[in-house]
Symmetry: C2
Subunit: 261 residues, 2 copies
């Protein structure tokens, strides 16, 4: 999905490029090209009239012939829609921060089984983790991998701040556009940024934690497995990156205006 904020698509070209790469990786081919998809997305938003929108684009494998299980023979389908902007974490909640749980009972599906850089809603592991998080009194979940390092949550990437450096996992996760934006903004601010394996131990010792998603932006996490992170409030770097992230939405370099007429 891609976000529209104040009537402008945010980093649409990057979303489209990732989308095309994803359907090719799955050996699918919708009967529509990228420029036409771009047009459809603008038209969805224009017709909805929404100034703040969650715009979804999906390619499905399609429906098999009766009895056939050969995915090469299906007619792949494309669909798209615009709905009001979705917040994984509400604006109100962002002031306080969320309660993040590191799953104990579920590891993230490994890359050797399913490629997480190909965005998908194949979420049985993430849903199982989320149910565990609710059972344990949390609100959000991040799944570790087999090495005991953090990967990602349902629909978001994870960052921590440890000794004034920003950390986020390098692989086994979606290459989120918000994640990429935050890395660029941090480097722009002169914040040392390490895209490296992020162990559970390092996360527990961190001063700040936040999640990133197109559906919510930069989302502070202030409690980890029942224990306050730092002072239990959104940290300094989290707040700075939150501010810069939303500022970027009005920057012509990153956003494309919708013509509603």
């Amino acid at each position: 999905m891609v976000g529209v904020w104040k009537g402008r698509f945010f980093r649409l070209e990057e979303h489209l490029k990732r989308f095309e790469r994803a359907w090719k990786a799955l050996k699918m081919s919708p009967s529509i090209d990228l420029p036409s998809i771009r047009q459809v997305l603008f038209e969805c938003v224009r017709r909805s009239g929404l100034r703040e929108a969650y715009v979804e684009m999906i390619v499905t494998r399609g429906v098999p012939q009766a009895g056939s299980r050969d995915p090469r023979t299906y007619d792949n389908c494309f669909y798209a829609y615009a709905i009001p902007y979705v917040w994984i974490q509400s604006i109100e909640k962002q002031k306080k921060g969320g309660h993040l749980i590191i799953a104990r009972d579920t590891i993230r599906i490994p890359e050797s089984s399913v490629d997480p850089t190909v965005k998908n809603f194949h979420w049985a592991d993430l849903t199982r983790g989320l149910l565990e998080a609710y059972d344990r009194g949390g609100e959000y979940v991040v799944l570790p991998n087999q090495k005991g390092c953090l990967t990602e949550g349902p629909g978001f990437n994870v960052f921590t701040v440890y000794r004034n450096e920003l950390w986020t996992p390098p692989s086994g996760v979606l290459e989120g556009i918000t994640r990429k934006t935050v890395i660029e903004l941090a480097r722009n601010e002169g914040i040392s940024t390490r895209v490296e394996d992020l162990s559970i131990e390092l996360a527990r010792s961190s001063d700040e934690i936040f999640a990133t998603s197109t559906a919510g932006g930069v989302m502070p996490m202030t409690v980890l497995d029942g224990i306050s992170i730092g002072k239990g409030l959104p940290g300094r770097l989290t707040q700075l990156l939150h501010k810069r992230y939303w500022e970027a939405h009005e920057d012509d370099r990153f956003s494309s205006k919708v013509d509603y007429n």
Copy 2:
């Protein structure tokens, strides 16, 4: 799904029991009880008039409220249908046997991520494996696990015959009703049966290989990764178990008659 053969459900009570266990494991609860589901399935078959049917029963998580991603709040749904019997391997093809590929590029999603004993169509790994199998000239795929042992294919379990013993993996796979039936029938015939880790090496040295599924029964595989297995024809034990499997469909202990009037 459950099969109907010559107007009789095969091992319906076991399918229903597994179905209930599965939705509970996923913390779902359809607003219908097991005896009513049983009735719906009989009614689907009766109305279709089909004597040989593929009868599907599904519980879905359901549709979220706009913006919510809390799976606990969804209304879970139940649906069922009967369609003509589906053959993963046609009767004609069963005389010759299929070409099975052991995936090189994809491992089965581990149990620590998603429980394979909870039947599901969360098949991104299996579909990726199947596409690899087609690329390599095969027709069917089985995915290994991280230890280099066989797991299962898309919708089927795998057996091999090695030195007159029957082998099938003990875990990391669906506990298929056809798998269970074949194990029982084999033990009944005095065939030594080992439900143990089945390494790729052992599979390559095997004299016979077959797959099992409600959608096709006992399905001989006579070529493995381009190389003939044994004499390149369905083996002796495979044929014996194939015969006994279909005989069991007319046995009152295993099957329940549909009243079509």
